[in-house]
Every structure is written in C-alpha cells, then in structure tokens.
C-alpha cells in the first residue's frame, strides 16, 4: 500500500468502458448484492466517541459493526471483552461495505448513572461505564419515502449476502443498540470485474478489504480499524452499480475462490 497525497487523487474512474479480462458472476457464486440505505431512528453513538475530538468524527459506520448488526449476530461475551472478528465474520451470512451519511446533526447527551446505595452519580468504583459523562451522538434521521423520488438521506452502503439469507429491515447498531431502519434495493445480476485502471468506489472502504494498489486515500479513524472515506484503487475487483463502483471485498472473493 503506497499512500499518496490527497491532491494527487482523481475523481471517478477515467474511462467508462474499463478494460476487463476477468469476471465473476456473483449470483452463480451464490451471492446477491443489495444496496442499503440506513436510517438511525435514535441517537447513534459509537464507542469511538469516548476518545476526544468527538465532533470531528465522521458520520461513518464501520463495516464490521454493520455486518454484526445485520447478521443479527450477537452473543454474550465469553472471556473479557475481546471480539473475535475473523471467526465471527467468517460465520456470518453477509458482509457489508462501510456506510457514510452526507448530512448529520449532533446532540450532546449527559449521562448520569445513579448508584442505588448512595443515590449519587459520583460514587467511586472500578467500572467501565462512566458515572457522569457526555456523549456526542448523531441525531435520529428519518426520510419520508416519496414515490418517484430517490432516497438521499441516511447512510448508504452495499451488502454482499450469501445464499438465501434475508437481512432484517430493522436492527440494532452501536454500543447502545440504536434502532435502525434499512431500506434495501436488490442489484440485478451483479458481475464483478478485475479492473486495471484506477477506481474510486462509491462508498467508504475498509483497507483490509482491498487487494489492489491504493493510489490515494482519505482516512477516518474509527475503531476497530481505520476506514478510507475515499480511496483510489487500481487492480482490484469491482461491481458496477448505477454508474458507481462497488469494491468486491477481498474476503468475499477468497470465499468464492474456495467454493
């Protein structure tokens, strides 16, 4: 991965008819591709905001969090608090891209956990929840569906679904289980191509999903790993969706390769 300064990055793919010499028919490989538009119907908060500089956090959702949520994959923590991403993700029926929202507003919420014995919020204790704290959250977001008009708010992302799993339309997201509504749209006959030229995907990218060469990127720090809000990638696999490009994540391609 060779990072280059932002000013070198170029907009959308330069040509409309890219040179293609390899192709994967996703449906034949047992996958469908969905476009999702996610609306948080409550204050959305990520643990990343416990770290300072909250207001600079992008309204972006990590694709691991989203994949857990939409797989309805949830379990009691066995030992400590360490998630086992690789084991978990491999067993999930879907994998998403990260999601981003074009417009959000924020609200600061003050928390105060009252201690039942002392009736105070400032009682000591070795705890991992704050007694009294502030949380900058992303405000609830709702878009009225209107016939003949495309949805444009919320968080846009793409979802690769294995087999006949049907992702839910309402799920929970984030540490506090914010209820979310997802409006799904199926992509017809998705085909992935290996493209030799530089492409900027229509969505943020998890660097771990890239197998090509990254020409430039614009990072967002978001636990558990960083995301690229915008990346220019060469020599990777993409699916064309409505004129935009969706990156075929490395893990999906490997899975298809195994079957």
């Amino acid at each position: 991965m060779r990072p280059m300064p932002m000013w070198l990055s170029i907009g959308w793919s330069r040509k409309d008819s890219p040179e293609m010499y390899k192709m994967i028919d996703l449906e034949k490989a047992g996958y469908s591709l969905l476009e999702g538009r996610l609306y948080n119907h409550d204050y959305l908060w990520f643990s990343s905001t416990e770290i300072a500089k909250v207001s600079s956090t992008w309204p972006a959702i990590h694709n691991y969090a989203l994949s857990y949520s939409l797989s309805q994959y949830s379990h009691g923590v066995y030992r400590g608090n360490c998630p086992r991403y690789e084991d978990d993700l491999a067993s999930m029926p879907l994998y998403t891209t990260p999601a981003i929202s074009p417009v959000v507003t924020r609200t600061t919420i003050t928390l105060n956990a009252v201690d039942d014995l002392t009736l105070r919020t400032d009682s000591g204790g070795k705890i991992n929840t704050p007694n009294l704290g502030k949380r900058v959250t992303l405000d609830p977001c709702f878009e009225l569906p209107q016939s003949g008009r495309r949805l444009e708010l919320g968080y846009l992302f793409f979802c690769f679904v294995r087999g006949d799993y049907r992702p839910p339309a309402v799920a929970r997201l984030g540490k506090k289980g914010c209820p979310i509504r997802v409006c799904w749209k199926g992509i017809e006959s998705p085909q992935a191509f290996l493209l030799d030229e530089a492409v900027v995907p229509a969505h943020p990218v998890n660097p771990l999903d890239i197998s090509g060469e990254v020409l430039s990127y614009d990072p967002i720090i978001l636990p558990p790993h960083m995301l690229f809000r915008r990346a220019e990638i060469r020599g990777d696999w993409f699916v064309r969706v409505d004129g935009g490009m969706v990156l075929l994540p490395k893990r999906i391609r490997h899975e298809i390769g195994r079957t």
Binding site: N81, I109, T110, D116, I127, L144, P168, G177
Partner: protein, 308 residues
C-alpha cells in the same frame, strides 16, 4: 392460554448465543404529572427534529424520552419486584443493585445484562442484554406538550416563597409517548417478568421532586425473527391517527409494516383481544417460590454454559 401463542418466539432456556426470535411490546407511555425529561445540565427538555407524521414531511420538534431513562427505571423496577417476591417466598434477599454491584445471578442481570466489576475479573464473563429500548418521541410536537414552570425558593422560616428563580420547561400531563420494548430470545418466565415490570413501573422523572409519574399501557405485541417497527416510525404513524389511539389502530399499523420485513412470513401481529388476554394472564401469574426457583435456576444454567 393466550401466552402459548408466543411460544414459537420464546426460548426454552436463555443462552449466551442470542438467536433471532424477537418479541416487540408496543406501549403508550402517558405522562400523569408535569415531567422534565432532560439530558442536559441546562434542564431543558430534550427535543428532536422529526417530520410531523408519516405523510407530512414538515419538520417539527418533538420531546424525546431517552431509551436509557426508560431502561434505568424498568431495570430497577424488576429488581425491586424480585427482591420483594424473594423475601416473601423465603429466599435469601437479593444482593443486586445498580450500578456497581450487579450479582449476575438474578433474572434482572440475565435479561438486562451486566458487567462484572470485581478487580481482576477479566476471566468472569459478562452477560449481554436481551432487552432493547429506543428513545420514544412525543406523539404531538413539543410546542403542544410543553409547559413553562416557574420555580421559587421557599424560605424555611417564613414558609414564604422568595423571588422566582427561573423558568423551566416540562411536558404536561396526558402527553403520550408511543414506545417499544424489544425482547430477544427470552424465556416464558422472562416475558412474564418484563410485562409485569412494564405494568408496575411508574416514576420516570429526571428529578423525582418534579413529577415523572407515568402510566404504561400495553397496546400491541408483534413477534418474529426481527424487529418490525421502530419507536420513531410508530409515533409518525400514530400522529396521522391520533384521534383513535387504540389497539386496533396499532395492530393496523403493524400489519402494514410486516411487508417491509426481511422475513415477513415469520412475523405475527397479535390482535388487540389477544394482547389484552396475554396481559391479563401475566397479571395473574404469581411470583411464588416455584416461579422464582425456576427463574434463578435458568440463570445458573446460562452461566454454566458461559463457562463452557
């Protein structure tokens, strides 16, 4: 028994790995006294901008009743219920309280989740909650439900009020917050405990000195492999039907949302008559020794499974 109709959406025993079985309990939370629902030190009522209704896109502000506030009160209510029932049944008194002394052995901890906070506790597993809340939004816009309260200082000697200290906003009695409590992979007994809790919880105020009295009415139940509706959608839908806030109205809305689900054939919307019967049956169940022994044994089994 009507509750048996929910059996396909309940689990035999709660387990650390949570499945898709989901029950949504639809509530109207009705304010009985002037209530400050604040999240800020400014003591303002928390408000959120939303469309007026599901058909009218005009932006309005609505009072927000945070999910965390609902959860805090109801978690304590369940604890209180278990404590009282336990003492009455001759059990050892429950040693479990928020926030730093969760026992991780009682049905409250099993349902609401808990983190072990003892030092060097890294090897003791936590419990993931299986009850989900969401912020509830006032049915009517904030402008229509708010009242300005002036507050004064009272001189203890003269018992006369001094000068007015200021004004704060509260929501007025009869304000309705349509709300949803979601249960994931819960047992028959846990369902009973939750419904009993919802029916008996009353005081939700940010400051107990000023109101916070509310009444919960269970107006709908839907079950499936996912959640069907969010509290925000429920409020926006109900606004258009605000002249008829009934179980039938709620069931009608839920029926329509079935179509949007990922697995619509797994969803079941119960009729208002069925819901009323279920609530009645739950009210009749007594939290006797046998019920409690079995409920605690379930939690022990859960913990055993976590140890592997």
């Amino acid at each position: 028994m009507s509750l048996d109709m929910l059996t396909p959406y309940l689990v035999e025993i709660a387990r650390p790995i949570i499945g898709a079985k989901t029950i949504q309990v639809i509530l109207f939370r009705e304010v009985l006294d002037y209530t400050v629902l604040r999240t800020e030190e400014t003591r303002e009522v928390n408000t959120v901008v939303t469309p007026l209704s599901i058909s009218i896109g005009k932006d309005v502000r609505r009072a927000a009743f945070l999910g965390s506030k609902q959860k805090a009160v109801e978690s304590r209510e369940l604890e209180r219920m278990l404590r009282t029932a336990g003492v009455e049944a001759g059990l050892v008194e429950l040693q479990c309280h928020l926030k730093d002394n969760l026992c991780l052995k009682c049905p409250r901890c099993a349902l609401f989740g808990g983190t072990n906070v003892e030092s060097g506790s890294e090897k003791i597993a936590n419990i993931k909650h299986r009850i989900e809340y969401g912020t509830a939004f006032s049915l009517l816009p904030f402008e229509e439900v708010r009242v300005a309260l002036t507050f004064n200082a009272i001189n203890d000697k003269t018992q006369k009020t001094g000068q007015a200290l200021g004004t704060r906003y509260a929501v007025r009695p009869s304000t309705v917050f349509p709300s949803v409590v979601t249960l994931k992979s819960v047992t028959h007994k846990e369902l009973i405990l939750v419904i009993k809790t919802l029916l008996s919880a009353r005081n939700y105020g940010a400051e107990t000195r000023i109101g916070g009295d509310m009444r919960n009415s269970i107006v709908g139940i839907v079950a499936g492999w996912e959640e069907m509706i969010t509290p925000l959608e429920l409020t926006l839908e109900l606004y258009d039907r605000r002249e008829d806030l009934s179980g039938d109205t709620v069931a009608g809305i839920l029926d329509r949302y079935q179509a949007y689900a990922g697995n619509p054939n797994k969803l079941k919307v119960f009729t208002p008559e069925q819901v009323d019967l279920m609530v009645e049956q739950v009210a009749e169940v007594s939290l006797d020794r046998r019920f409690l022994d079995e409920a605690y044994a379930d939690v022990a089994q859960y913990r055993l499974e976590q140890k592997g």
